[in-house]
């Protein structure tokens, strides 16, 4: 007992891996239920149309078909529309404008891929074949797929409830002060940016397997979700499937999410409804082309921004105007992403006294847009870091020096846009990153490239983000429909091993390992003696899932606080066993001791005694050893860092090669460096993908042109470099562990670093993402 080496802070190898590397993972599509049936959705091939007759007769005659259900039948089911969980008010006080959003359309379709009917059959093949036989008459309407076109006075209107296709016209900050500062500025830098629309592309396609047990009047939903409890609450209270205790949601192994599996989708609702109607378990797994058309997309902003500076190169104001594309319907967090997790980060790492942002969101005939890794914060970071870089170059100052001059240096720091940064040291990661990439040697490398006919550039991205959203009361005031605390339950078994129940959900984040590391240290036991349980609403009482980099600072903090309660109770029991006063008992390295005696007790001994209950008065101390905590963070935490990218451009082809990439991040206290570095690597490649490769592109008919891996350029191993990752540490003050979220940082700092490097290499002011060889070649050609 006792004296085990500390696990927390070490690169402990993952407990998840043995099953995942041997093919023993259990993803939703792997579940096969007795009497299993399969669903195939009939989806609109038209971006905007009124629905006429739906003829299901041929499909019903197809061998193996169990049933065909249409939007009209769904409309008669009594189930409610899909809903958005965050209310935003326009600057004139009006609530956001929300149109209908049925899970199966019966009147009108508004984007390509929208489901209008479902076929359920004995096999996946039969369901898909029969779905082809459902005949739907579409009366086509004009289409608008671009957010600026949607604002035109003669643009077709998608929802009667939203004239001009506008959902809201929102603002934050002080407009008059910003206008005054702009008028008085010694220099103003203005830029227009497109933040390109992305498809999340978790490698496991979304999947659902819904069943209904009539004898128990209870649904079971296996679903690839990041947020099983939130989904159950929505299915019960919003959609109307009945009380929560009649619904069990299970999300066991989930193959990546990046935000896209945190929402309530039509397929979950329709499969549950169909399972009860038809009396069979109904499974649906997206084909990749369905994922492209129906997984909520990310980003899609058009922004004009102006930065004001005084004669000493101090930033005095930032003015931002953003048009955000919401897609055809408001997705679960669609209204939140372009507002309170976007414009609130526009101060970046800089001391900017005056900020104003206006965000207008509109509906278009495209797939709904929602949170994708970073969710609003990459959009903000891109605006700030592009603007700062262009300003420095216009002023003729070194971009690193310009940043240094304007960094926030004292904490806490309240920005003009809602946030109060609790801690940080921005200079520290900038200096470390420039050192790691050998910025001093850059000019020599640039010369060497030039000698070979290549153009070399260096670009910096100094990002800040807000992770671990909270506290709940404040979020409620800002429009959230839910609280954003996290729960933890710790069950100590009589033999001293431990089960930890968390409301967070791991779909690649390694909670089974990092959470176990902390708990093992707290109790002085082995990591192997701790089991982390999650992703089943019958096992874990409640929780808010995993997104927004909340699982460390919020989820693990809840576990830490539950550990405190376990120790407090165990000390009381130990006092009786040692026959000493309770206030003399201490617990360290897995041993209970007291200054009043030389005797010591191990954690397992006390655990066993908690359950035998032979040696303490159960009138004073209840038997057993199990504790629960709900942790509501007092504020966000603020991970920040500096990413530096060095590119080499071939001017003859426009091909950009990333020669070096350094990321230095301040994530506060780190639980498992190996895991955190992995999170950074993955985020970096998603950010580099946005900067160089990825673009969801629609034509004027609302057809998704980049709807497969043949057309949508996913980063592959030979598109990206090795990374040099480093850390600095300032503790967060908003959680007991001092942690800051690490899940999204990579995708926030990297896009501006890459684009700033390309602009540096080419000597140009701006190039829009993705900087494809064609675009870069054109920029080289027109600059020459």
């Amino acid at each position: 007992m006792g004296n085990l080496p500390k696990a927390f802070g070490q690169s402990v190898r993952r407990k998840e891996d043995p099953r995942l590397i041997t093919g023993a993972g259990r993803y939703t599509d792997d579940q096969q239920l007795p009497q299993q049936a399969w669903a195939a959705f009939v989806r609109s091939p038209i971006a905007h149309a009124n629905i006429g007759e739906v003829d299901t007769s041929a499909a019903l005659e197809h061998p193996g078909v169990v049933g065909v259900l249409t939007g009209a039948e769904f409309a008669a089911s009594g189930l409610n529309d899909l809903a958005c969980g965050w209310m935003i008010h326009s600057r004139n006080g009006d609530p956001m404008r929300v149109g209908e959003h049925p899970a199966l359309a019966s009147q009108r379709v508004r984007y390509v891929g929208e489901p209008v009917a479902v076929v359920v059959a004995d096999s996946r093949q039969a369901a898909r074949a029969a779905a082809e036989l459902v005949m739907v008459d579409y009366d086509e309407l004009p289409v608008v797929s671009d957010v600026e076109a949607a604002a035109a006075p003669d643009a077709v209107v998608l929802h009667d409830a939203a004239p001009g296709n506008q959902c809201y016209d929102w603002e934050i900050g002080n407009r008059d002060a910003v206008r005054k500062a702009l008028d008085e500025a010694a220099h103003v830098t203005e830029i227009r940016l497109i933040n390109n629309r992305l498809v999340p592309n978790a490698m496991e396609p979304r999947a659902v397997n819904a069943s209904y047990d009539a004898s128990r009047d209870r649904y079971t939903l296996y679903v690839a979700s990041q947020n099983p409890h939130g989904l159950r609450m929505t299915l019960a209270a919003v959609i109307g499937f009945g009380p929560e205790h009649k619904i069990r949601v299970i999300s066991e192994d989930v193959g990546g999410g990046f935000g896209s599996k945190a929402f309530n989708y039509a397929e979950e609702v329709v499969c549950m409804w169909a399972a009860k109607r038809l009396g069979r378990p109904v499974k649906w797994t997206a084909e990749r082309s369905e994922s492209f058309l129906t997984d909520a997309h990310g980003r899609d902003h058009i922004t004009t921004a102006r930065l004001a500076m005084d004669a000493n190169h101090r930033i005095t104001a930032l003015d931002v105007s953003t048009h955000a594309n919401l897609g055809a319907y408001l997705s679960t967090f669609g209204s939140l992403v372009p507002t309170y997790v976007y414009a609130t980060l526009l101060s970046g790492q800089y001391d900017i006294p005056n900020i104003y942002a206006n965000v207008v969101t509109r509906y278009t005939n495209t797939t709904p847009v929602d949170a994708y890794r970073g969710a609003g914060r990459p959009e903000a970071g891109y605006v700030v870091e592009r603007l700062v870089d262009v300003a420095a170059r216009e002023l003729g100052i070194d971009p690193a020096e310009f940043r240094r001059q304007n960094f926030i240096r004292t904490f806490p720091h309240a920005t003009p846009v809602e946030m109060t940064y609790d801690s940080g040291d921005f200079q520290a990661h900038l200096d470390k990153a420039l050192d790691m990439i050998d910025a001093a040697g850059f000019e020599a490398r640039r010369e060497a490239s030039r000698a070979e006919g290549k153009l070399r550039g260096l670009g910096i991205g100094c990002y800040i983000e807000a992770a671990g959203i909270g506290p709940s009361a404040r979020l409620g005031k800002l429009g959230s429909g839910a609280g954003l605390w996290e729960s933890a339950e710790i069950r100590v078994n009589p033999t001293g091993s431990v089960e930890v129940l968390t409301g967070c959900h791991s779909h690649g984040q390694s909670h089974e390992t990092t959470y176990a590391q902390l708990v093992a240290d707290r109790f002085g036991i082995s990591v192997d003696d701790v089991e982390i349980l999650h992703g089943d609403t019958d096992v874990v009482q409640f929780g808010m899932g995993t997104y927004g980099s909340r699982s460390g600072p919020v989820g693990l903090s809840a576990i830490d606080m539950a550990c405190d309660k376990i120790v407090a109770k165990a000390e009381k029991i130990a006092a009786h066993l040692l026959n000493v006063p309770a206030d003399t008992v201490t617990f360290e390295d897995g041993e209970f001791a007291s200054e009043a005696t030389n005797e010591r007790l191990g954690f397992a001994e006390v655990a066993l005694n908690a359950y035998t209950a032979h040696h303490f008065p159960t009138t004073e101390i209840e038997p057993g050893l199990k504790e629960t905590t709900f942790f509501d963070p007092p504020d966000f935490n603020f991970p920040a860092g500096t990413h530096v990218c060095e590119v080499e451009v071939d001017p003859a082809t426009g091909v950009v090669r990333i020669a070096r990439f350094v990321a230095v991040d301040d994530f506060g206290v780190i639980g498992n460096p190996m895991v955190v570095e992995g999170q950074v690597h993955g985020g970096l490649v998603q950010g580099i993908g946005q900067a160089l490769l990825e673009q969801a592109r629609y034509d004027d008919y609302g057809q998704l042109l980049s709807g497969s891996y043949m057309d949508y350029c996913m980063p592959r191993a030979d598109d990206v470099p090795d990374f040099d990752v480093g850390f600095t540490e300032t503790r967060s003050t908003t959680n007991p562990l001092g942690m800051k979220g690490c899940g999204e940082a990579g995708s926030i700092g990297s896009p501006p670093a890459v684009i700033n490097a390309i602009c540096d290499a080419l000597g140009i002011r701006h190039i829009d993402m993705p900087a494809t060889p064609e675009k870069v070649w054109r920029a080289v050609t027109s600059a020459a």
């Binding site: 099953r19 590397i21 990546g256 990749r288 390694s510 993955g682 043949m710 592959r716 191993a717 030979d718």
Partner: protein, 153 residues
């Protein structure tokens, strides 16, 4: 139609349709669910298995084409207490996060190492170009594969 196929050393006689895919008999008839389907265009590589010793994407091989063949899947290369060196290297180097692309990635990597005389960082990256991972950024996958290649050399 009826086919005979050896999967992970066991012979199976299976009744399949002319349009049944190899991945369907693995996942749905034999219930070997370690092989995953990530796309419908043979682009992502999650379904990679070995067919007569070659890495193939099992979502684009017809079951009929596997008649008389020997197939090895992720379940056939090692066990938790007796991992294949590539499986062990993926764990050691943290070359997986969500794990969904991992079986295909491991099967492709084994083939790459077995059939290459000399592998460096660039050659591994090029060799794995047919397998998409959205979680790891490839950095640790490349390190894992290189470690196995170096141990072989």
């Amino acid at each position: 139609m009826e086919i005979t196929v050896t999967v992970n050393g066991r012979s199976h006689r299976l009744d399949v349709s002319p349009n049944t895919l190899l991945v369907d008999i693995l996942r749905e008839q034999l219930r070997l669910t370690g092989t995953h389907v990530g796309c419908d265009t043979s682009q992502c590589g999650a379904c990679t298995v070995h067919l007569n010793g070659d890495a193939v994407k099992s979502c684009t091989v017809l079951a009929g084409q596997a008649d008389g063949a020997s197939v090895v899947t992720i379940e056939g290369i090692g066990a938790v207490d007796d991992l294949h060196p590539m499986q062990a290297a993926f764990r050691e180097h943290h070359a997986l996060q969500c794990g969904f692309c991992t079986p295909g990635m491991i099967m492709a990597a084994i083939d790459l190492v077995e059939k290459s005389d000399h592998l460096d960082d660039a050659a591994v990256r090029e060799g794995l170009e047919g397998n998409i991972c959205r979680c790891t950024g490839y950095h640790n996958i490349v390190n894992a594969v290189l470690s196995v290649a170096e141990a072989k050399a």
